[in-house]
């Protein structure tokens, strides 16, 4: 979590995923969506920010036999790019959905990892038109043999994760999702960032942000 200023407004730290970690530097990829990210975007090089982390869990490593599918929606690409980098030797398949072509990032970065992402946009301005979960379903998951030995990793908006969870449940594919929630403390005490699971409320900052999609109760 990052504190974007020293004053009282905004008051709380902002949670971010780690986009890259190299040579001791942590890189964070974000889109300006509100006051916090607006202030952050105006920070000059060399500014000092208070940071707390890393917090919570991580994507579980896939077993050796598994074929890996990564699914990113919008800014969910930030942590999935990092995961793709870590798993590049395993030749992961990358599905990437966004609203418009402007919001599709890191395509060349993925290419340099040897990954050609399958892209879809809501308006069809890049890649296929429509949502990425139906693109994934139609292009890869037809017939029982095609679903064998797969493992899914995803990060993106809740409707996308919900649709992916429904699909992976139906096809019996293990699926790990990184979820978002409003957060105050980041260390498990405020109980603000809970997600409903079949084993009760879990804290995104502590037990998450990565959950098995079939553990989550999707309303």
């Amino acid at each position: 979590m990052l504190s974007v200023n020293k004053g009282n407004d905004p008051l709380l730290k902002r949670p971010f995923s780690i986009h890259q970690f190299c040579n001791g530097d942590i890189k964070i990829l974000y889109r300006v969506v509100g006051k916090g990210t607006e202030i952050l975007s105006n920070c000059s090089e060399g500014s000092t920010l208070e940071a707390l982390g890393p917090l919570g869990n991580k994507f579980p490593a896939p077993s050796k036999k598994k074929r890996i599918i990564l699914v990113a929606g919008g800014m969910g690409v930030a942590p999935l790019f990092y995961l793709a980098e870590k798993l590049k030797k395993r030749g992961p398949v990358f599905f990437y959905g966004a609203r418009t072509a402007d919001e599709v990032l890191l395509v060349s970065g993925l290419r340099s990892l040897g990954i050609i992402p399958t892209i879809s946009t809501d308006d069809g301005s890049l890649g296929k038109k429509g949502n990425i979960i139906s693109v994934l379903n139609k292009s890869m998951l037809q017939g029982p043999e095609s679903c064998e030995n797969l493992i899914l990793y995803a990060c993106g908006p809740e409707p996308m994760l919900r649709a992916l969870s429904r699909l992976s449940n139906k096809l019996n594919i293990p699926c790990n999702v990184s979820v978002e929630q409003h957060m105050a403390c980041g260390i498990g005490t405020c109980l603000g960032c809970i997600v409903k699971t079949h084993k009760g409320h879990k804290r995104v900052c502590r037990e998450g942000p990565v959950f098995r999609s079939d553990d989550i109760v999707w309303d």
Binding site: N8, L12, K13, L52, Q181, A184, C185, I187, G188, I194
Partner: protein, 310 residues
């Protein structure tokens, strides 16, 4: 160097019979059960740890979203999620005993009977030094009246709990009332040993893009520096009307804020939302407080209490 500068500073305060090594406590619901903060804070250095509000049975709390940031503050509608008194005593209290923490157990109930049972259970446990009762929740057995907003109901529940415990009894008042001093007097008359002022102010925020409340629970409790002036005023007002000590809280982020509350009449303070912003904030505040006292030549911090009333 004058005499006062040579003497050591004295941070200790008294809340009735409860002696604290310093006036800085943690506010209930912002410090978990203490163990979560162990990597940031020397728990035994705190005046006291007020633990997350406990009920007889575990409580799941509200659905998300539970928190929303507002100007210089935040709204929360956690819904009193907690592990229940039995689990607290078994799983959390041993740690607090081990680190020699001064433990104040915050608790609540859905009825007078539940409050009494909760107080009895907590009083029987080893390692709890005082009780703080949250009366900002509704009486589910009698018309859902919030205990802390009706003097008759508040008197009934506080006096019932008073009979059920010999531990120092702190009553945490709701600020969502017309006359806070009248509620303070009610709690005092019912046998409270001290008051905590203030709980969160009821508020709400609406998402103008979809026209819906931002919290799943529609309304929530406002905390943070946004409420500090309201809290300081309430402490000031109650200090004039009651004889029992007051623990001040509401948006404390620095030693300056601690001093402000003490001058208004607080004998001790609790840091709440500040723990979320900076997990080490209580230790930082204690450091700042010592520097302030040295620079001002103040020997005993307790001398600050009520200073603004002269």
């Amino acid at each position: 160097m004058n005499v006062s500068m040579k003497r050591n500073i004295d941070l200790s305060v008294k809340i009735g019979t409860l002696k604290l090594k310093n006036p800085v406590m943690t506010a209930s619901g912002t410090f978990g059960y203490g163990d979560e903060y162990s990597e940031f804070v020397d728990i035994h250095k705190l005046g006291a740890v007020v633990v997350k509000g406990l009920s007889l049975k575990p409580k799941e709390g509200n659905p998300p979203p539970r928190i929303v940031e507002t100007p210089s503050g935040m709204l929360n509608a956690i819904g009193l999620q907690n592990i229940g008194i039995d689990a607290f005593v078994k799983r959390k209290l041993p740690y607090l005993r081990e680190v020699r923490a001064k433990v104040i157990a915050n608790f609540f109930g859905d009825s007078v009977g539940e409050y009494v049972q909760a107080a009895e259970k907590l009083s029987a446990a080893d390692g709890i030094h005082a009780l703080e009762m949250n009366i900002s929740c509704p009486n589910k057995q009698e018309g859902w009246i919030v205990f802390g907003t009706d003097p008759r109901v508040a008197y009934e529940v506080v006096s019932a709990v008073r009979k059920a415990t010999t531990l120092p009894l702190i009553v945490k008042l709701s600020p969502n009332v017309t006359d806070i001093a009248a509620m303070a007097r009610t709690a005092e008359d019912a046998g409270a040993d001290a008051l905590s002022l203030i709980n969160t102010l009821t508020g709400m925020a609406i998402d103008i893009r979809n026209g819906k409340p931002k919290l799943a629970n529609t309304v929530g409790g406002l905390s943070g520096p946004a409420i500090r002036p309201v809290a300081v005023r309430m402490v000031y007002e109650c200090y004039r009307k009651v004889k029992i000590p007051i623990i001040g809280m509401g948006g404390i982020l620095s030693a300056d804020d601690v001093i402000e509350f003490m001058l208004a009449g607080a004998a001790a303070v609790a840091v709440g939302t500040g723990n979320f912003i900076n997990p080490r904030i209580t230790m930082d505040i204690l450091g700042e407080l010592k520097i302030y006292m040295k620079s001002q030549g103040i020997h005993a911090v307790s001398r600050l209490t009520g200073g603004a009333h002269c």
